[in-house]
Symmetry: none
Subunit: 157 residues, 2 copies
DNA sequence: GTAAAAATCATCCTAAAGTATGAAGCCTTT
DNA sequence: AAAGGCTTCATACTTTAGGATGATTTTTAC
């Protein structure tokens, strides 16, 4: 199929190829003419392009990369709490018993008398007695005052 | 207007002027070449040097600096005895009114409702209303819990 | 100017806190 | 063994705190 097509139109193909070659030759000659006529300018241009590229390459490769460091300070608040240092002296001075101190600590945690009683496995009345003696020793009238004073005196954290 | 245009396109204008000067220089060198025929190598060398420099300049001026963002976390330790730093975020989240916050602060100081009322020149009932709304917002049942939670959340010192 | 939020005050009621007093059991010290 | 402190518990009572609801005024936001 392909072979028969080639043999049939051999002359036409040959003519076409010759024409193409001729046009190509003409174009090439034209180009050569331009090149020959402007050989010097083109040479200079080539030099310029090559050395500009060289300059860019040198600059990019042989210099330290430009890095702009942006430092964003982010403050992180650390609730260190500051190690609690028990004020032993004040504690001694108040003369609180161990049970009273326990009650005071649970009061500071926000527990009610009933809850404290449950926590310590004693009756509500017992806690009331403890708290009364506690208030008396601490010279306060209410649990809120006791807690405030205890924190101020560093008896509890 | 004109000044801003100038400053805005400073690089372009500068480049244009440089190019013009360069062309002038080239023309002058060409003339010299005609006169001094032996300086061809020097001419080429000058071209190479100039365009290398141009390439370097271009690369340095027209490349964008890489931006590296470094986040430095700066820890801020908050000591127990140190300055109190209000936890604005938590305070906002609770949605306490200014009056409620006042009441809370006086509660933390160990004052009774009656005393708070006297301090703020309002009736006891008003303080009760405030405290009720306060407890509701803070999701607590008692003033001692409110004070404990407020101190824990750093809403009050 | 209207709607929403805040602040104020009141009444009634219940729950919790606090006072006063007494008492029993368990330690330690004298 | 007696004295004193600690813990426990109880009863009776007063005070304070807290809940529920309704209302008025003021401030704030749209």
């Amino acid at each position: 199929m392909a072979a028969s097509f080639l043999s049939k139109h051999k002359h036409i193909i040959l003519y076409g190829v010759c024409l193409a070659l001729l046009l190509f030759l003409l174009k090439w000659l034209e180009l050569r003419l331009i090149i020959i006529n402007h050989a010097f300018e083109m040479y200079i241009g080539a030099i310029a392009v090559i050395f500009t590229a060289l300059g860019i390459w040198l600059a990019l490769k042989l210099t330290k990369p430009k890095v702009r460091t942006v430092i964003v300070e982010k403050e992180v608040y650390v609730q260190h709490g500051g190690e609690f240092t028990l004020n032993e002296q004040e504690l001694q001075q108040l003369g609180l018993s161990s049970r009273e101190l326990e009650v005071l600590q649970l009061m500071a945690a926000g527990l009610s008398n009933q809850e404290i009683a449950g926590r310590l496995f004693v009756s509500l009345n017992t806690i009331k007695t403890h708290s009364s003696r506690l208030f008396e020793k601490m010279d306060v009238k209410r649990r809120t005052q006791a807690v405030e004073k205890a924190k101020r005196l560093r008896i509890i954290p």
